[in-house]
């Protein structure tokens, strides 16, 4: 039932974003504003899931929005919007991952500090969740982020990552097992 709702929402988003982008290509300011506003929320979710408590999260979101702005003429209305959108975000993410490597230690220290300063249970959960994702390999993290957090199907995610669906499922299974073990060890 839950997956059916997710699937319906996905189709609805796909159609709406596609229509908004077509109107944007024609110069409709309101449609474009609405589209970018909606996409920025999706990008934020994606970046948070991938990088956790990034100190330059807002810059990264704006950089991704700028990439979409510059690439808006490459969207073909006869093709699906989500694969186009996620390809841009995925490639931007790779760039960010490279940069994030150098900041990883700083981010980890910041996260520790945040945790020490706050006793808020929800915040701790969020940080723990992000840490659990960091214990995964890049491949496993991408698989889990795309399917469990972004709501993509395994087929869509496998196409986006350029691997077969069975490979993706394997990464997903190994990643989830790793998270489970890590979670149990923490408890």
């Amino acid at each position: 039932m839950n997956s059916e709702i997710k699937s319906a929402a996905r189709i609805e988003d796909e159609q709406r974003w596609s229509d908004l982008m077509v109107q944007s290509q024609l110069g409709d300011v309101h449609a474009y504003n609405q589209l970018l506003s909606e996409l920025s929320v999706v990008i934020e979710k994606y970046l948070r899931a991938n990088f956790g408590n990034l100190h330059n999260l807002e810059d990264c979101i704006q950089e991704s929005l700028l990439a979409i702005h510059r690439a808006r003429h490459t969207f073909d209305p006869n093709r699906l919007f989500r694969p186009w959108f996620f390809t841009i975000i995925h490639h931007k993410t790779i760039d960010l991952l490279r940069r994030a490597d150098t900041h990883k230690k700083a981010v980890a220290a910041e996260t520790q500090l945040d945790k020490a300063e706050s006793n808020h249970v929800d915040l701790d959960r969020v940080i723990d969740g992000e840490r659990l994702l960091f214990c995964l390999s890049d491949e496993q993290r991408s698989a889990i982020t795309m399917t469990k957090l972004m709501g993509m199907t395994t087929n869509e995610a496998s196409i986006a990552l350029g691997v077969t669906e069975s490979t993706l499922k394997g990464r997903l299974r190994r990643g989830l097992n790793k998270i489970k073990k890590q979670w149990q060890a923490n408890e």
Binding site: L26, E58, Q62, A67, D76, F86, I159
Partner: protein, 213 residues
Amino acid sequence: MKTSRRNFIDNLTTELTPVNAVNTRVSAMYWFASAFALAIIIFSLTGPFRSGAVDSLLSSPQFFIETVIGLIAVITLIYTAFEMAIPAPRSKIRILAWPVLILVGWISLYLFGLSHPALEPSMLGKREFCYVETFLYSVPALLLGLLWVKKQWPTEPVIAGALVGVAAGVVPAMVMQFACMYEPMHILTEHILPGLSVGLVGALLAFIMLKLR
């Protein structure tokens, strides 16, 4: 939503100008026509075409097939290069399979021609520096293709650049079929090889031009 992001989106929206959605097929056909037109003009200005070369298309089915497969190879190469400049999830192996297969098929025809040439091998129409000409005459088409790719959003710029390079190199290599001597070994080493090497130049230029996007 944070105020800075709201402002950023508002700024992007204010700058909005209407754009034409790209059509890869149409672009590929424009490039194809322009590349051959440019090559034919340059070849015409730099020397004569081999006498009877066009007639050979009708008299030798093998020569006709070599030419047609070559044309198809150019179209698939440039179409694939332009497709790679459009953001979309894709398997590199799957998208490269067709252009590479057709290109290999085209080259194989000349390898077959070593033992069974399409036309009687001769020195008729030989150009002294055909290997240099093939390389140099591909430059306009190469730059044209790379500029087009640069205007899009290539996810694999180096591969796209290499494909544009090979396509641009194959164009003069094909025109050489009509402008230079016909002998399969000569074609393979003096026309096709320099043409394919433009792929390396394309990849290198793409690396420099498109990585700075």
